[in-house]
């Protein structure tokens, strides 16, 4: 062993950095209470401290940091949505992701691979043309590819899967992936450094609402007063909203994914097919990730099913037949809160100082930075909705002003 390593190990500087301070007692009151210590809640806390100097903030997490959908997602980052509102919002998020490692001084392993979505029917080709135009207009890098270009980009792809030959592709150069845990940890570390308190194993069990305002939250560690509350609990949005006294346009479905043993690098871009209900990507560790559509019926349960394994693997093998010998390493699920228009719900709620970050369904990891930034703006201004998220207000449903992203979400996440 090199002598310098031994010396370093024994020196008082080791370990160099503590990312999160040790847990403390809860204070009796905070200016802002954020429910949910996933990427979204932590990002909101970070931007509150960074841009608005609001640091009397507690993030309350019932289990462990980033152990919800932040830990379960397949980390597809992209902005090739369909509506101007959607593209504008997600493009800003992609831009923020690009500089996050530098900002944190912590590697989130952001890796810009490009995302290829396959069209197997004329209707999909038409929809892709529209998406390419809308994307380009709002500053994303998205174009159509023909069969020959797809073959060159992904030589290992089967161009004629059974009954669904590939006709064209939507090539989104900004498509990327990142280490999802590191995103949560990076936000947590930087928020804590600025004075935000992060409390794990702290479950919000009830809300004290008086005169149309939230006054306190009741937790398993006691009741704390609050100036306002941000709810960022992904798969539990309806449950908390009910405690605040209102219902949501949300139905919760499990979403499953799986990963194979590692292979040498063979697949650079993220490849997805909505007709086959499947997307495939290779991680930087070499494992191949398979993801697909949600389960067929609502549940608050993250069990795995054989039905889904069969259909997802079937579709993945249509795309990459040589993976038939691959061994599955892990399979898991998360509860995803699906909205009728496949867009999130962000902003005000019927309770005056209770802010919503919900309805993130199967697509919310990519929105973590911009969502945190805009939610922080909303909180700091005492409820003035930033333009970027105004279209995603809960109110849109009562006005029949949905932001329809269903076609651009499907199995691409």
């Amino acid at each position: 062993m090199p002598f310098s390593l031994l010396k370093y190990g024994l020196s008082s500087d080791y370990p160099v950095d503590v990312d999160l301070p040790a847990p403390k007692e809860l204070k009796s009151s905070y200016d802002v209470v954020i429910i949910g210590g996933g990427g979204h809640g932590l990002a909101t806390a970070y931007y509150l401290a960074k841009y608005h100097n609001i640091t009397n903030v507690a993030v309350l997490e019932k289990a462990y940091l980033g152990g919800g959908n932040t830990a379960r997602n397949t980390a597809v980052i992209r902005s090739n949505y369909l509506t101007p509102e959607g593209v504008r919002f997600y493009s800003e998020s992609v831009r923020m992701f690009q500089s996050l490692s530098n900002e944190f001084d912590y590697n989130i392993m952001y890796s810009e691979r490009g995302q290829l979505t396959l069209a197997h029917t004329d209707a999909t080709v038409r929809a892709f043309r529209q998406r390419a135009e809308v994307n380009t207009h709002f500053g994303g890098r998205t174009e159509m590819l023909d069969r020959q270009q797809i073959r060159e980009l992904v030589p290992s792809l089967n161009m004629d899967p059974g009954h669904l030959p590939v006709m064209a592709g939507l090539w989104h150069k900004d498509g990327a992936t990142a280490r999802h845990d590191a995103v949560a940890w990076g936000y947590a570390k930087e928020a804590a450094k600025r004075g935000v308190e992060i409390h794990q194993l702290t479950e919000v069990q009830d809300l004290v609402i008086e005169g149309g305002k939230v006054r306190a939250v009741k937790t398993n560690r006691g009741t704390i007063q609050c100036g306002c509350v941000v709810q960022a609990v992904a798969g539990h949005s309806s449950i908390l909203a009910k405690k605040a006294g209102f219902t949501m346009p949300i139905i919760s479905y499990p979403l499953q994914a799986m990963v194979t043993q590692p292979f040498k690098p063979f697949l650079d871009p993220l490849v997805s097919s909505s007709a086959l209900h499947c997307y495939v990507q290779q991680t930087s560790r070499g494992e191949v990730v398979f993801g697909g559509g949600s389960d067929p019926y609502p549940l608050y349960n993250t069990r795995s099913t054989l039905d889904l394994k069969e259909s997802l693997i079937g579709a993945a093998l249509e795309m990459f037949p040589f993976l038939s010998q691959a061994r599955l390493m892990r399979q898991w699920a998360g509860t995803t809160d699906m909205t009728p228009d496949y867009s999130p719900i962000m902003g005000l709620s019927p309770v005056e100082n209770y802010y919503l970050d919900a309805g993130w369904g199967t697509w919310g990891f990519k929105a973590t930075p911009i969502c945190g930034k805009t939610m922080a703006e909303l909180v700091a201004s005492g409820g003035k909705t930033p333009d970027l998220i105004a279209p995603f207000a809960l109110e849109r449903f009562a006005r029949f002003r949905q932001v329809n992203e269903m076609g651009a979400t499907a199995a691409s996440h």
Partner: protein
């Protein structure tokens, strides 16, 4: 494989069935407010616990009611809608909508 006990066809693989949504009462479209209608169309209880829902057996197009637990993934009871709906429901037709040939 998850089994759904169909009141008409007996126990079948759940992949033969289609989930049809929470059992809720439809407000009268002619008299309800926009907000109430939006509530009926988009909002849902999304209960973590026992729920009462519509389901359909796809192959036979048979609709029935299931009571299920959304946390434990157990199906507690299934039955024919006639157990709940004892009277015929007539949907009033707006005549201008039904005038024949629109090609």
């Amino acid at each position: 494989m998850k089994i759904m006990p169909c009141p008409l066809n007996g126990p079948r693989n759940i992949s033969e069935f289609v989930y049809g949504g929470e059992l809720t009462e439809m407000p009268d479209p002619d008299t309800t407010s926009d907000r109430e209608w939006a509530d009926y169309v988009f909002f849902s209880d999304n209960t973590a616990g026992v729920v009462i829902e519509w389901w359909m057996h796809a192959a036979s197009s048979y609709w029935f009611i299931a009571e299920r637990h959304t946390v434990t993934d157990e199906i507690l009871r299934t039955y024919d809608p006639s157990e709940r709906f004892t009277q015929r429901i007539d949907f009033p037709m707006n005549h201008s909508d039904t005038v024949g040939d629109r090609t």
